[in-house]
């Protein structure tokens, strides 16, 4: 089975950024056309989202056939209708990975898409963004390395992991010393 048309609905949130990356990778691998879709709520000035959409498409376009689409209306329904109309093979949609009330509010578009889509759906949790962008050994993106207060090596925390472990071990040793039988008048 070939994936010829891949749809990436975006709301420009970090959650959809992660999905965008995956959608791009899938499109590159399958040699598919990538549809980048944004749905503006009804009665909204669409000029601002249009700019964001063009920017998002540019960042994904590199060596790829990309089509940008701006629709107005209810997001979930529009995405599903678009997928049906354009015979989309795969929808890549970001999820916020939240539960409860926040999930009910924010993840509802993804949920509608998953329920009603006529094709394959790949959901990408937002938590993958941080994991993937961090190179092994490097501090996570957005965290500036500053020296550890104890040993002065670069660390994302105030006190680095090694020093924390050492301090904990020292404390534990002190505690053991002070609680040794016979030193507090306990019978030996």
């Amino acid at each position: 089975m070939r994936l010829n048309e891949i749809l990436f609905p975006t709301d420009f949130s970090p959650a959809s950024e992660a999905a965008g990356r995956v959608a791009r990778e899938m499109a590159v691998q399958a040699g598919a056309r990538l549809h980048v879709l944004h749905v503006v709520p009804p009665v909204t000035d669409p000029s601002l989202p249009a700019e964001s959409l063009a920017r998002a498409a540019r960042s994904l376009a590199d060596g790829l056939r990309v089509e940008t689409v701006l629709l107005s209306g209810w997001a979930g329904r529009n995405v599903v209708d678009y997928a049906r109309e354009k015979r989309i093979d795969l929808i890549v949609v970001g999820t916020h990975g939240r539960t409860g009330i926040t999930h009910a509010i924010l993840g509802s578009v993804a949920e509608t898409v998953v329920r009603l889509a006529p094709c394959l759906v790949l959901t990408v949790p937002a938590s993958l963004l941080a994991e993937r962008s961090a190179a092994p050994g490097a501090p996570p993106a957005g965290v500036s390395p500053r020296p550890c207060l104890v040993c002065d090596t670069a660390s994302e925390d105030l006190i680095c992991e090694g020093c924390r472990a050492r301090i904990r071990a020292e404390r534990l040793e002190q505690k053991r010393e002070s609680e040794r039988p016979g030193q507090r008048g306990l019978p030996v």
Binding site: M1, L3, T99, V114, L120, T123, L128
Partner: protein, 154 residues
């Protein structure tokens, strides 16, 4: 997943048509280099209540029957996952079948962890009694709780 497609996949099977379609989809895609699939089927064990007022021989008989049912369900599940794994292996995947016993969602999430999977593939609807829902309860819960990408096949 940089340009690698689906590399380490956990495929959740439950005997439903949708889950078979998920398997068929994976068998049709060209596997990436080193791509592997773990076909997981979770069997919910039948448990027998304590029944303190039931005579001991009858209790033993009921327990024996429940155990036999569990055994035959596990065997059927194993046959299924092995058949699916063989199909996927023919398509070029490194595939193996695993039968786990317990609560479906929890076992699927555990399988993702132990296999260090990056994709969970599921059929949209399960084998539950309510087949007219658009999304099975396990698939829906997996979407909310899985720490990895989830592929829903219809």
């Amino acid at each position: 997943m940089a340009g690698r497609g689906f590399r380490r996949v956990v495929l959740g099977m439950d005997g439903s048509a949708h889950s078979r379609r998920a398997a068929a989809f994976l068998a049709r895609v060209t596997p990436p280099r080193g791509g592997r699939v773990t076909v997981v089927r979770v069997v919910e064990p039948m448990r027998v209540p304590a029944m303190p007022l039931v005579p001991a021989p009858m209790r033993a008989q009921i327990a024996g029957q429940a155990e036999a049912a569990n055994r035959s369900r596990t065997a059927a599940a194993r046959r299924q996952v092995e058949a699916v794994a063989a199909t996927l292996a023919r398509a070029g995947w490194r595939a193996r079948g695993v039968v786990r016993s317990g609560v479906p969602l929890a076992e699927l999430l555990a399988a993702i962890r132990t296999e260090r999977a990056d994709v969970l593939a599921l059929g949209a609807r399960g084998a539950g009694a309510v087949t007219h829902f658009l999304l099975g309860s396990v698939s829906e819960a997996a979407l909310k709780h899985a720490p990895v990408e989830v592929l829903i096949v219809k």
